[in-house]
Symmetry: C2
Subunit: 379 residues, 2 copies
């Protein structure tokens, strides 16, 4: 194969965005050949905009079986991702799925299993993994520069969403329509980066979600979560959608100091020796290890969706390793599900979570959902 023929499922904001840079030839080795959408109007709009050579389909399945595409980008509502991905894999497609991977880990696990059976290239649109800040952080941690991690703390409260935003689509911020709030809609990148950069998944989580705080919505829009890791480290994750300008500050404390990412800058307070070694040898009651403060240089660029699409295309054509393997989408989602489950059960949640229990609890929310009848089709 010299060129990957790409089909896009779902021509909403994300799907149209991906189509645009593909049409403009910004992804080497990839060409957009087809789109599918439930709306005939959208399909006509796409043909008008991007030309008659574009194949259009009212269902994803038709596109998967058309012989016109080698790989698909799934840009549909969250709930639809696993089912559509499984169908795509069964049709021999490579798949690049938008985040979040899905709404609950049970369905995402099935998607991962289908991907493994297919042997196709399976990526997830974690474009923040191309952000040089987080690449650098991951590198500093994995190379041992920060020492063993002792604490993580992410305050990510700059996801301002007004009531007007929530009112702009009836499915928004409903259990039946979206399956969650800030955790599933705004935070998937941070929940992924929290574990990807540190290389640590929580061992257990205790979280406190508030639903419809300062907003007339069903789902969580305010979360404080506490995490414990296998190595004894602890973590805090705080997020909301009603604060403005809010905060995006990620602090990681390790045996060799601390790193803070804030305002798109990274600062490293680096100890000249490991704290654990200093502490072992020191005999002076009020001494502290010597510390140097650095502004870590960060390469410009990154974070663009097309970089993930390029990498996935390169993986199909040349076997390039994926920056964001689809299988890893379940990690951030597990953390997200655990936070809701801890709130619903008012207790600790051990990871990996009880997937059936989460699924049952989610179904309870959907059944109670004010918009369940109107939005059932989406789920």
């Amino acid at each position: 194969m010299q060129t990957v023929r790409i089909g896009i499922v779902g021509l909403g904001n994300m799907g149209s965005g991906h189509a645009r840079y593909l049409i403009e030839g910004q992804v080497k080795g990839a060409v957009l050949t087809a789109v599918s959408d439930v709306s005939e109007e959208r399909l006509n709009w796409a043909k008008e905009k991007w030309g008659d050579q574009l194949h259009t389909y009212l269902t994803p399945g038709e596109m998967f079986r058309s012989g016109e595409v080698d790989g698909v980008l799934l840009c549909t509502p969250h709930y639809d991702h696993p089912r559509q991905a499984i169908e795509a894999f069964e049709c021999g497609m490579h798949v690049l799925v938008e985040k979040p991977a899905g709404v609950y880990t049970k369905q995402v696990r099935e998607m991962n299993e289908a991907a493994a059976r297919s042997g196709k290239i399976y990526g997830i649109m974690y474009n923040q993994r191309t952000n040089p800040l987080y690449i650098k952080l991951k590198e500093l941690i994995s190379s041992g520069e920060l020492g063993e991690i002792r604490r993580t703390n992410w305050i990510i409260t700059n996801w301002y969403r007004s009531q007007a935003y929530y009112n702009s689509g009836g499915w928004r911020a409903t259990w039946a329509g979206e399956g969650g709030g800030v955790l599933i809609n705004q935070d998937p990148h941070q929940l992924d980066l929290w574990q990807w950069t540190t290389g640590l998944m929580p061992k257990r989580i205790r979280a406190f979600c508030a639903f419809g705080k300062h907003r007339d919505i069903e789902v969580e829009n305010d979360v404080t979560a506490y995490a414990e890791y296998e190595n004894g480290a602890t973590g805090v994750f705080v997020t909301s959608t009603y604060e403005t300008p809010g905060t995006n500050r990620f602090e990681i404390s390790g045996d060799r100091g601390k790193i803070v990412i804030e305002d798109d800058k990274m600062t490293f307070w680096r100890l000249r020796q490991l704290e654990s070694e200093f502490n072992r040898d020191n005999r002076d009651a009020f001494a502290q290890p010597e510390c140097w403060k650095f502004d870590i240089p960060i390469k410009p660029g990154g974070t663009q969706h097309k970089e993930i699409t390029q990498n996935w295309t390169d993986s199909i054509l040349h076997g390039t390793p994926l920056l964001a393997p689809g299988e890893e989408g379940i990690k951030g989602l597990t953390i997200s599900n655990a936070m809701l489950l801890s709130t619903w059960t008012d207790g600790w949640v051990d990871l990996p979570i009880d997937e059936d229990l989460f699924h049952d609890k989610l179904q309870e929310q959907i059944t109670r959902s004010a918009s369940a009848s109107g939005k059932g089709g989406k789920a």
Copy 2:
């Protein structure tokens, strides 16, 4: 009375410090006339240093009854504060107690009751209440400048204490000797300021303390606490003693923006209108209220112990209102006790706490304490 004759109980680090500025005449209207300490050696040292006119006593009670002092500064181990204060009040003394007020609220409540019965001037050494940063914060919040508070977040992890520090006194970091760790020894100021500046006491707390983390000690030296307030706001308090250089960052988010205190600076991101009003009237899905960022000017100075002693002296002589009334010492201690109790019971703690339950749980710790036999006398 034209001059307050002051007696100091306990000539450790704090007691000697207070004696020094009093001897130097730095507190107008106050004169140091007496000291008491269990060590005859310390008393002789004091006479040598500060002159033979100084009355010295081996027990506080002798000093309280000597007729040589009008008011006393209690600078003894935490556990002793309430008992000694009660005796002082019964002897007609004014009392200024070092922080923390005590180790458990049950004993502190009895101290407060004795103070009220006595009608004497009762202060607590919360010298951080003279810090212009926190005075300004309290003023901005109480004047409504920040709007209704929605979230508080204090990361206070710059209390580095090495093993050498803990080894420097056998009573240190033991349940029998000190009755707690970072919460009772390092954090009393922050626990006080957290509620004093915001005017909010938590309604309930869920906290996660680790005991002897990276250190060979009995007590808590790593705490993450989540708080809920009556008005719906939430809070996080993170503290530890093994991180360096650590962080001291206090963020308060309100209906009119957010304030962050870090590196001795205060920044105010101020919305031109209340978020709640903007949200009510706004019809644009992605609009946000206009925000202006200010560096808030802070007066220099403050935080000195002698300012609290001066204020307490002025209150005795002239009826000046106290900056830090002794009765308020129970507030921060209640929060501190609640954090330990939540950890010990692995559940929510409603405030005010069950004082008897806390006392029982603390006694269990003391009984199990490795140093219980050696340190029982201190408690």
